[in-house]
């Protein structure tokens, strides 16, 4: 099969006339386009093996020309953009399949609404590898397979810390991608695959106080959003470069929205609204106290305060954790089913449920003001927690543990909203134990396993329901991680 080969930072363009009776390939120069190979008509599939809908399409219409170009991003050398058109045909839908061989395995969507030329960004590829790709399009009810092409991805920047998958049980572990951040060395947003390879990265130009704490794939699938942790001592200014960064998948477009008082965590709603935690300092008896609030930033720039802790809690003095603020909110979840936010408070060892529309406090889970009591007694199901995952009938928490424990763990509690009780149903502690003072994240995976992110220790563990470790990733020295999100695909 004829192939097109493209290398990092170059653009390869070819035109393929499919079954057009010996028509010559049309290689078009596009600036730094360097065609190195051209698919010859004889090399191309002559029949895509599909049935034609005579009413919608003449039998030979599918033989219209595919014109395809591919460019490997010069910013992120594991990302490529495929641009293509199909002469003489109106495209109903299309996708680009890509993978390490001609079985492909990954699929990038194509938005055909805007008409040609169409574009797909290929993301999820490993560095320094050859990847095959082809366009698959439907025109007039007929599915057409484009020719196979090959591109070569580039190398990972040396300044990113090393990654090692120390253990993997392919039978039990679920493949996918981890969207996360390297906190400080260097502060960056990254995506790792389940084999520990960087498939995406962005290192912003920020001051050295900026520590990258959260990255998420945007809801439209076109960008990575990330920002800094922005922890501050009471009264001291926040990090000057704290912003929400929106980086296109190919790294060529970066938008920066300054949110100087935002900190720790944000989440994007389905309509593109960004909800985030923001400092809410107020003066109480001459003392400046950092409270926290949830703020929404709509796509049109409208800003709305949803909730502030000052509406529900009275400041009664230092929390016992000097320097961490009063509440020290540190994690934010949006639950679409109940249109509610859940915001974690480290200082209170509590998670607050907040009704989005009214701003009312729905519930407090954990801590001295918990609405729930443990069936085993007390109201402290976790201490100084960070990440959590709201489950149906329970909650999964990264329990950092206090000074008395010196060990962090994953813990799941069943929550009974009638009896107002909580009971521990599952937990996991790694061997050897790790004590993570800041950050830490957790996520229940589709296969029932749990991904536990020991952030500052640069270790990710995937654990099955029985507590067996089925996958472990370790970062080299300097590779402290921020929050993380597992995704099966980088397109959904």
């Amino acid at each position: 099969m004829g192939r097109i080969r493209a290398g990092t930072g170059t653009v390869f363009l070819w035109a393929l006339l499919v079954g057009c009776g010996g028509g010559s390939p049309q290689a078009t120069d596009a600036g730094d386009v360097v065609p190195t190979d051209v698919v010859q008509p004889d090399d191309t599939p002559t029949d895509p093996g599909i049935a034609f809908d005579d009413a919608a399409l003449e039998e030979d219409s599918w033989e219209a020309a595919f014109q395809v170009a591919v460019a490997v991003s010069e910013v992120i050398s594991t990302v490529a953009t495929v641009t293509w058109s199909l002469d003489g045909a109106s495209v109903d839908w299309a996708r680009v399949e890509f993978g390490p061989d001609t079985t492909y395995g990954m699929t990038a969507p194509v938005d055909v609404k805007g008409g040609p030329p169409y574009e797909a960004v290929l993301v999820g590829m490993k560095p320094g590898r050859d990847y095959h790709f082809r366009v698959v399009a439907q025109a007039g009810g007929v599915t057409l397979d484009g020719p196979d092409g090959v591109l070569t991805t580039g190398a990972v920047p040396g300044k990113l810390p090393g990654v090692k998958v120390a253990l993997a049980d392919p039978q039990q572990q679920i493949p996918g991608f981890i969207v996360t951040t390297v906190l400080a060395s260097p502060p960056s947003a990254v995506i790792l695959d389940h084999e520990g390879d960087y498939v995406w990265w962005y290192v912003p130009d920020v001051d050295d106080d900026f520590k990258a704490g959260r990255a998420r794939l945007s809801v439209d699938g076109r960008s990575i959003l990330f920002w800094g942790v922005n922890v501050r001592k009471v009264v001291e200014p926040a990090v000057s470069t704290q912003s929400l960064f929106r980086v296109s998948l190919d790294g060529t477009r970066v938008e920066q929205t300054p949110l100087p008082e935002g900190h720790h965590d944000f989440v994007e709603l389905p309509d593109g609204t960004i909800a985030f935690i923001e400092y809410d300092p107020r003066t109480v008896k001459g003392e400046t106290v950092d409270g926290d609030r949830v703020v929404e930033l709509a796509p049109d720039g409208t800003r709305t305060e949803v909730y502030t802790v000052w509406d529900s809690f009275d400041y009664t003095g230092p929390s016992g954790t000097p320097g961490r603020g009063w509440c020290h909110a540190n994690y934010l979840v949006y639950e679409a089913g109940e249109d509610a936010y859940y915001m974690g408070s480290r200082s209170w060892s509590a998670i607050l449920g907040i009704d989005r529309s009214s701003g009312n406090l729905l519930r407090v889970v954990g801590g001295h003001q918990s609405d729930y009591v443990l069936t085993s007694g007390g109201t402290t199901p976790f201490q100084e927690q960070h990440g959590f995952d709201v489950l149906d009938g329970g909650i999964l928490v990264f329990d950092n543990g206090g000074k008395d424990m010196l060990s962090s763990r994953a813990v799941e509690h069943a929550v009974d909203d009638v009896a107002m009780t909580m009971s521990e149903v599952w937990s996991y502690e790694p061997q050897p134990h790790l004590y993570v003072v800041t950050h830490g994240d957790i996520q229940r995976l589709p296969n029932g396993n749990t991904l536990v992110n020991f952030s500052n220790s640069g270790q990710l563990d995937e654990v099955d329901p029985s507590g067996n470790l089925v996958w472990r990733l370790n970062m080299s020295l300097g590779g402290a991680l921020g929050y993380s999100t597992w995704r099966e695909s980088l397109y959904e």
Binding site: T8, S77, P127, G154, A155, V156, P157, G158, K159, L160, P161, G162, K164, L183, A184, S185, P186, D208, D209, K211, V229, V231, R232, K233, V239, T321, P322, G323, R324, K403, L406, P432, H433, L434, Y435, V436, V437, T438, F454, N456, S457, G458, Q459, N474, M475, S476, L477, G478, G479, A480
Partner: protein, 338 residues
């Protein structure tokens, strides 16, 4: 401006040089040159093409061990770290304790011994999972600091509450620059003990000692074509670093070529920590990624790298400026060829 190696943990050098048996003091590589019928040494033939391919056989050898001194301090106290009297850094270079120190860091390791940390720092094999706390302090001209002043990226966790016997291995570093892990000027282990009474640690030039062995004289030198601005350097085939550990191509973030008019490889062995300082001229280029470099990218104080000649000694290094131990993973001599 020339810079010393940006060591993390290295080194008051106690040099135990290997490969110093030769007293010839001549350029490495001359032993492979050929003699014409009249007896004069002729430069070797240049390789075909304009790509200079580096191989493991071209690499120098390096081995080293690190000895970081331990200081016993009163547990659960708020010890004072004082570097006001530190006039010489790890590399034996004069330093200003107020002006040269930008940041101090206290790192707490768990599930690992002091000896394993020393070894891991030497070989760049430590993992982040060994770190349970990383606290830092911008010194802003100060020459001492209490443990309680250190924060986790600005988050004041009252680190002194953890300073107790049996909780991890504590390492203090002071650094030039604020990039974690880079530019360390001195380091020391802290040992909190319940029965100890000391509350002050004074860093000295002996707080960390490096004993290393380096061999440059055995290098035959890589034939290098003169005046070839379009030449490409290719290190894609390297598998081992100078210390024998695995060569990780992604670690290389800088290429440096240095020229010494009057110094021989033997001279450079003896002053290995200063090879950049001693150079008559240095040309460098950043490597964002990949395993090749167009040499036209190298630049120095006098402009682009002009290529080499047959005068003096030419040194080529592939560097990792962000590694815990930034001893170059690859270093070789360049040999003029025709």
């Amino acid at each position: 401006m020339n810079r010393p190696w940006p060591w993390l943990i290295p080194a008051l050098a106690i040099l135990s040089l290997a490969g110093c048996g030769s007293d010839a003091g001549s350029d490495a590589g001359t032993d492979t040159n050929t003699a014409d019928p009249g007896g004069e040494m002729l430069p070797p033939d240049c390789p075909q093409g304009t790509t200079v391919v580096l191989t493991d056989d071209d690499n120098y050898t390096f081995s080293g061990s690190m000895d970081i001194r331990s200081y016993t301090l009163a547990a659960l106290g708020d010890p004072l770290f004082d570097w006001s009297g530190l006039k010489v850094d790890l590399q034996g270079h004069a330093m200003n304790p107020a002006g040269d120190v930008d940041q101090a860091a206290v790192i707490v390791f768990t599930n690992i011994t002091e000896e394993e940390i020393e070894a891991g720092l030497s070989t760049n094999t430590l993992e982040q999972s060994h770190v349970t706390l990383f606290t830092q302090l911008k010194t802003a001209g100060a020459t001492s600091a209490h443990l309680s002043e250190f924060t986790v990226f600005g988050n004041d966790i009252d680190v002194e509450q953890y300073f107790e016997e049996g909780y991890g291995v504590w390492l203090l570093t002071i650094t030039r620059g604020t990039v974690p892990g880079v530019g360390t000027l001195m380091a020391a282990f802290l040992r909190p003990e319940a029965t100890a009474s000391a509350i002050t640690l004074e860093l000295t030039k002996d707080s960390t000692v490096l004993d290393f062995t380096v061999d440059l004289e055995s290098l035959e030198g890589v034939p290098f074509p003169p005046s070839t601005p379009d030449a490409i350097l290719d290190w894609s085939g390297l598998t081992a670093k100078g210390d024998g550990m695995e060569f990780v191509a992604g670690d290389v973030d800088e290429v440096m070529v240095a020229h010494y008019t009057d110094l021989t490889p033997t001279d450079l062995e003896k002053q290995f920590l200063d090879v950049e300082l001693l150079a008559d001229e240095v040309w460098t280029a950043d490597v964002a990624s990949g395993t090749t470099l167009e040499l036209i990218a190298l630049s120095g104080a006098t402009g682009p790298f002009p290529g080499i000649d047959d005068e003096g000694t030419w040194l080529l290094t592939l560097r990792c400026t962000t590694c815990a131990n930034p001893v170059p993973p690859f270093l070789t001599l360049l040999k003029y060829c025709q």
